[in-house]
C-alpha cells in the first residue's frame, strides 16, 4: 500500500521550516554549490544551516533528503564527495543522486545511507531502474514526468524499489539530466553547474507597447504581449519560428505547470509511494500554499473522502496547468 508521502521543496532554511510546519513528510534541499540541480543565486543551505534544519525537521518527524543530483565534471569530483560526507555527518535521511560515480561513492563510503535516484538520472524503464537498484542499492526512483499512469502501474510491478512522482510545479519537457540547452547559450551547464537559465544571463526588457521580452544571453527567448501571462525564461518554454511555422510558436512547450491533484487517488492506486512538489526556487508563500493543499488532499484520501484540492492555479507558470503526460500519451 502506498504511503502517499509528501516530499516538499526547501530552497532556504525558512522555506524548510514552512514546509515542515505545513505538513511535509519529507523535505528536499541542497548545498550552495554545483552539487545540486537548483544552484541558484541566494538559494540553498550552508552546512551550518543544514545542521540546524535537520534538527528542526527531525524534531517534527519530517525527513530531510539531500539533493546531490548533478554530474561532477572530471577534476571536480571532490566537491560532490565532500557534500556526501557532510550530509552523512549531519544525518540526512537520504541522498538524491543521478551520477553513477556519486552513487557508487556513497554506496561504498556510507553503506548505511539511503539512496534515491534523481529524476536527473532519467531512468524511465524497469530495466534502467533495476540497474541502479542492483548496483547501488537505490531504494526509491523519482520518475521522469513523461509516463502515463498505466505505465507507472506497470513499472511498479517490475521494480524492487519505491516510486516517487512529481505532482505539482514546473513542467519541463526535456529528459532531465540530458539537456545542455542552457549551456549552449550561456556557458553554464545544467548537469555540471546545476543551473537552468541562470539569472545572471536573463534580461527582461519592457517594450514601448507594454510588452515584455525575455532574453537569455542576448537571445530573445520570448516576448509577452501586455496582457499575456508570462513564464520562466527557459529555452524549452520559448517561442520560435520554423519553416512551417512562420508565426512564432511554442516549439517545445507552453509556459504551464504540472498539477496532478485530481489524479492523486489513481496515482496512489498505481502504487506511487511518494509525491514530489517542485519548486525550491519558489517563495515560502508558494511552499505554504501548495504543501498545505496537498497535505489536506492526501489526508482526505487516506480517510476515504474525496480530496477537495484548493485552487492552486494562481501559483502556476503562465497561470496554466496541465496533467501532462500522466493522463494521456497524446502530448508526446
Amino acid at each position: 500500500m502506498s504511503h502517499a508521502e509528501l516530499v516538499c521543496p526547501a530552497g532556504t532554511p525558512a522555506a524548510l521550516r514552512t514546509a515542515v510546519d505545513a505538513g511535509a513528510d519529507a523535505v528536499y534541499c541542497g548545498f550552495q554549490n554545483a552539487t545540486n540541480a537548483r544552484n541558484f543565486p541566494g538559494l540553498n543551505f550552508t552546512p551550518d544551516e543544514l545542521a540546524v534544519a535537520v534538527l528542526y525537521a527531525h524534531g517534527k518527524g519530517t525527513k530531510v533528503l539531500l539533493a546531490l543530483n548533478t554530474y561532477p565534471p572530471a577534476g571536480k569530483f571532490d566537491l560532490w564527495r565532500q557534500a556526501a560526507d557532510l550530509g552523512a555527518r549531519l544525518g540526512v535521511d537520504a541522498f538524491i543522486v543521478a551520477d553513477m560515480g556519486v552513487a557508487d561513492y556513497i554506496a561504498r563510503a556510507h553503506p548505511q545511507a539511503r539512496l534515491h535516484l534523481s529524476v536527473q538520472a532519467a531512468a524511465s524503464t524497469p530495466e534502467a531502474i533495476r540497474y541502479y537498484c542492483a548496483h547501488f542499492g537505490v531504494k526509491r526512483v523519482v520518475l521522469p514526468r513523461i509516463l502515463t499512469i498505466p505505465e507507472i502501474r506497470q513499472i511498479r510491478k517490475e521494480i524492487p524499489c519505491e516510486i516517487e512522482t512529481f505532482i505539482f510545479g514546473n513542467h519541463g519537457l526535456m529528459v532531465e539530466g540530458r539537456c545542455s540547452l542552457t549551456n549552449y547559450l550561456t556557458g553554464q551547464s545544467t548537469n555540471m553547474d546545476g543551473v537552468c537559465s541562470p539569472a545572471s544571463d536573463v534580461e527582461y526588457v519592457r517594450d514601448a507597447d507594454g510588452a515584455m521580452s525575455s532574453r537569455l544571453a542576448g537571445f530573445t527567448i520570448d516576448r509577452f504581449g501586455p496582457d499575456e501571462m508570462a513564464g520562466y525564461p527557459t529555452i524549452c518554454k520559448g517561442r520560435y519560428t520554423a519553416p512551417h511555422r512562420p508565426e512564432e510558436y511554442y516549439a517545445f512547450e507552453e509556459p504551464v505547470s504540472l498539477n496532478l491533484s485530481r489524479l492523486l487517488p489513481e496515482l496512489i492506486g498505481a502504487g506511487v509511494h511518494a509525491f514530489k512538489i517542485e519548486g525550491r526556487q519558489r517563495s515560502k508563500s508558494y511552499v505554504r500554499g501548495v504543501v498545505a493543499a496537498f497535505r489536506q488532499a492526501v489526508d482526505d484520501i487516506r480517510a476515504g473522502h474525496a480530496a477537495n484540492i484548493a485552487d492552486l492555479l494562481a501559483l502556476t507558470e503562465g497561470q496554466k496547468q496541465t496533467q501532462g503526460a500522466f493522463e494521456t500519451k497524446k502530448w508526446r
Binding site: A14, L43, Y286
Partner: protein, 169 residues
C-alpha cells in the same frame, strides 16, 4: 483582465519631494533594524550587497532606493524623476511589494501574472528575493511594531488603502 502595470501620475514634484522628506527618517530606522535582526540576509545577497535597487511602488508618490551594503546601508525615498541609475528595478503595486517582502505572495506567481515587473540585473533581483524570503516572520509587522500601536494602525490603513486595486484596468 489586463494586468499591465501603470505608474500613476506622480503628482507635482513638490508633493513627491515633501513625501520623501517625511518618510525618510522612518525608512532609515526600519532598514537598520531589519539588518540588525536578520544578519544572514546579507550572505544571500552575495556580490549584490553593493547593487543599487530601485523599488518602485507604482501607486505611491515616490520610489525607494535600496543599497543593501552592510557597511553603509542605504534605504531612501526618491522622487521618480530624480531616481538614481539603478542596477535592478522592481516595480509593482505597493501592497504587492509589501506582501512579497513578507512572503505572503509568491514572486514568481506575481511575475507570471505580470503584476510584478523586473528589469536590470536579474540575478540581483533573485538574490534579494531569496534573501528576504529566508527572513522568518513578517518584516512589515516588525516594522509596524517599532512604532507601537500607531505603527500597527498605519500598516492596517495602508493595507486597506492599497488593496483597492486602483490602477489595474
Amino acid at each position: 483582465m489586463s494586468t499591465r502595470i501603470r505608474t500613476i501620475p506622480p503628482g507635482s514634484g513638490v508633493v513627491s519631494r515633501l513625501a520623501c522628506t517625511m518618510v525618510q527618517p522612518i525608512l532609515s530606522r526600519v532598514v537598520r533594524r531589519i539588518a540588525a535582526q536578520h544578519p544572514s540576509l546579507f550572505a544571500r545577497l552575495g556580490p549584490h550587497q553593493g547593487t543599487d535597487f530601485l523599488i518602485d511602488p507604482v501607486d505611491l508618490p515616490f520610489a525607494l532606493h535600496l543599497r543593501p551594503d552592510p557597511q553603509a546601508l542605504l534605504f531612501r525615498a526618491v522622487p521618480r524623476d530624480a531616481a538614481p541609475q539603478a542596477g535592478a528595478v522592481i516595480r509593482g503595486r505597493f501592497l504587492l511589494l509589501l506582501e512579497l517582502v513578507d512572503s505572503e505572495e509568491d514572486g514568481d506567481a506575481a511575475f507570471f501574472s505580470r503584476d510584478l515587473e523586473v528589469s536590470g540585473d536579474t540575478e540581483a533581483v533573485v538574490r534579494l528575493r531569496n534573501a528576504l524570503d529566508d527572513v522568518e516572520g513578517s518584516i512589515a509587522e516588525e516594522t509596524a511594531a517599532m512604532f507601537g500601536p500607531p505603527g500597527r494602525a498605519i500598516l492596517g490603513h495602508l493595507r486597506r488603502t492599497y488593496s483597492r486595486d486602483p490602477i489595474r484596468t
